[in-house]
Point group: C2
Chain length 432, copies 2
């Protein structure tokens, strides 16, 4: 079969890794495909002088890649939501299939771009946008296509998982772990997207669309970061047989799909609790296939494998004339998800308080909870010398997000609280 | 697009599960494919009277399924290597794609059947033959197609993993755990295929062909069962920071691919050591994507999902005219694997002895090892009252399978040994 020519826009960590794999691993790729995958053009703002050697154009101008006569598939790896949008629209509009790692853009424009791809009989491939080294979208699209997914829980942000597992191991506070991680290059100078859950939220939106065929506006996803967690929270969690992880969860309920990204209590028996450091993992419960877990690196160079595998898939479909083979998924279209999905689901919660100790605190908190029909399950207190900043935990029986939010709001006026209570759900659904 | 009609031969655990999913989950499957997947014929020796209702034929005769005019894809789910071979040949010979869970038959005839499929422009799909609930073949074929795989380690037999993790937890001997497992239906009445590693060996042969493009005669795979393991072995392993699992391993070395199924020492830090009970898992190290793990149920009803997902894939390729889309893999053909691959690879080993205690034992064993250039790393002995059946462990520096086998053979004449030494490799390659 005729070779397939590809173009790469963006040669940063992911683009550079993809280019290196395509060059170094070319023989293996050809053996698998039955034809060659040739990089005919690549663009990057790091390229100083336009050059063309051995049939490969290197340029600063992305337009030259997208418009290149020979380029049949374009990989958009510059990120951001402005130029990247032009790149993808430009390629799809010319009937060229696209491979992208751009989760923010897909979160904003995924539905529109999928539609555009379909109209031009091209494919839009996005494996690299979620959990880079883990081929989770391919698993959902074809691997376990026959199953009906009942729940998905994922560790989708490596930086946050690194911070939480370090805090668990060392007992150091978040700020010092984060500073160390930044020094070593494990965390961005501006860590907000990672530690506040925005990055994981974009990924969850894409995962949910592949699992449940829904279009998810990112605002419909409940989001809570990890910055308020203290080392003492892990001690309380362990007493209950749990640990704490930042989890992206998708769980169908009576009011539709519930979507959330937040720190949750994960049972220590659950395999997801064994995911340490900067690894990502996705745990899926199927109606027929029971539970499966997919684990690997979530970012950096391993993401290059996802880009190359997507290019191979798009190239196969191009040469075999099956570009719309998986387009019939109908993803991004079926239904919108609203906040009601998560707000009405019932979960037990872990409430951690920091108080100025005095008589009657439990009684006052208990009466606020009772007024919202929330039952206390247990009150836990680790020994502590800090009477002016005393931590303790109340666990409550399953309640709705809405009732809990109302109770937390009613607690705001209580003068013995040093800060608002921290509420984390106990994810009992994760047990086998 | 036109609906695709399928036939199922065999309605046991896997076939019955697949049929149930195809019926119950039909709407979801149609939404994903853009057309319906209809079961037009199914056969089983459990069916007493031939019937045809709502366009579905139920019969005792598999030939009626394979030869059915409307059936376009055939699922062979009867197992065994005689009739099943006729079923698959019959279907492929008619240009009908095949889905099968038959690892034994693929181990014996995989190359020939893949060739036959290719000649008739049909596809041969075998996701259900390895680690039932885990879509590992799809991951290897398309998910991480761009990577070059450097090593694969798998827990490929749920029964053995259940026995080992129970032994680790309870300290009970293998025979009593096996008897309990048989009583509860977790283990077969004849457990040989499971506990002696034959089942895992067939699966490893298929995995290796997908990873490395090689044809693997099962005899080229080093095989050792778990029946000689004692609870005390776990105590020694833990002292070294390891646990013990039955692992199917594929590791390239200087003399080609090394393949083995045997109990090995797995580092307690490795995620593979966290796989408990009857779960399966496959850990892969890629040259570019680093390490990934795939975890789930290995057998029983979850395998039905693999069958249905394969049927969906075959149906997609049929309607999109891309039957040979992934046939260019060239698997089963590239090269043969020989025993030399595993025999020359160097590994540290754990040697557990049971001896009648007396003076000079270590000296004698050390001199046998030294004569084969094998260096002792450590000698470990847990407290024991059994002087006539005393266990202790010697760990040795990396050595070849061949040198080690020679040393073990030379130890046969030593009268203080109650039984031949048990040798298990330390899989240091599994650490991150």
């Amino acid at each position: 079969m005729r070779d397939v020519n590809v173009g790469i826009v963006g040669l940063g960590t992911v683009g550079g890794s993809a280019l290196r794999i395509l060059d170094e691993n070319a023989a293996e790729i050809e053996r698998r495909l039955g034809f060659r995958l040739q990089v005919r053009a690549a663009s990057s703002l790091e390229i100083e002088a336009r050059s063309e050697t051995n049939g490969r154009l290197l340029t600063r101008a992305w337009q030259e890649v997208v418009e290149h006569q020979e380029v049949e598939i374009v990989a958009e790896l510059i990120g951001g939501t402005t130029v990247a949008l032009e790149v993808i629209r430009g390629a799809l509009g010319r009937g060229k299939s696209v491979v992208t790692a751009n989760k923010e853009l897909l979160g904003l424009r995924g539905a529109e771009l999928a539609q555009l791809a379909s109209e031009h009989k091209a494919s839009l491939n996005m494996e690299a946008s979620v959990a880079g080294g883990i081929p989770i979208l391919q698993v959902l699209k074809e691997g376990i296509a026959g199953d009906r997914i009942e729940a998905l829980y994922g560790i989708l942000n490596g930086t946050s998982n690194f911070i939480l597992t370090e805090m668990e191991k060392s007992g150091a506070p978040l700020t010092s772990i984060l500073a160390e991680a930044q020094k070593r290059g494990y965390a961005e100078a501006n860590p907000t997207a990672d530690v506040e859950g925005y990055d994981a939220r974009s990924k969850l939106a894409i995962l949910a669309s592949f699992c449940f065929g829904v279009h998810v506006p990112t605002e419909a996803i409940f989001r809570q970061g990890i910055t308020r967690l203290l080392p003492i929270d892990f001690a309380y969690a362990h007493r209950l047989g749990y640990t704490i992880r930042l989890i992206g969860a998708a769980t169908p309920g009576p009011d539709g799909l519930g979507l959330s990204v937040r720190p949750v209590l994960v049972p220590e028996k659950a395999i997801l609790s064994k995911v340490l450091g900067s690894y990502n993992a996705i745990w899926i419960k199927g109606a027929y296939g029971e539970d499966t877990l997919y684990y690997g690196r979530g970012a950096g160079k391993p993401t290059g494998v996802a880009v190359v595998s997507d290019l191979m898939r798009a190239a196969r479909d191009l040469r075999h004339g099956s570009m719309l083979r998986a387009a019939a998924f109908g993803f991004w279209k079926l239904q919108e998800v609203s906040r009601a999905g998560i707000e009405s689901q019932l979960r037990p919660y872990f409430l951690r308080f920091l108080v100025r100790d005095r008589v009657g605190i439990i009684a006052q908190l208990a009466s606020v909870l009772a007024a919202r029909n929330i039952s206390i399950d247990a009150v836990l207190q680790e020994p502590s010398a800090e009477k002016d900043n005393l931590p303790f935990v109340i666990t409550v029986e399953p309640t709705s997000e809405t009732a809990l939010a109302a109770a937390l709001e009613a607690m705001q006026g209580l003068d013995f609280l040093c800060e608002p209570p921290l509420a984390l759900p106990l994810e009992t659904g994760l047990s086998r």
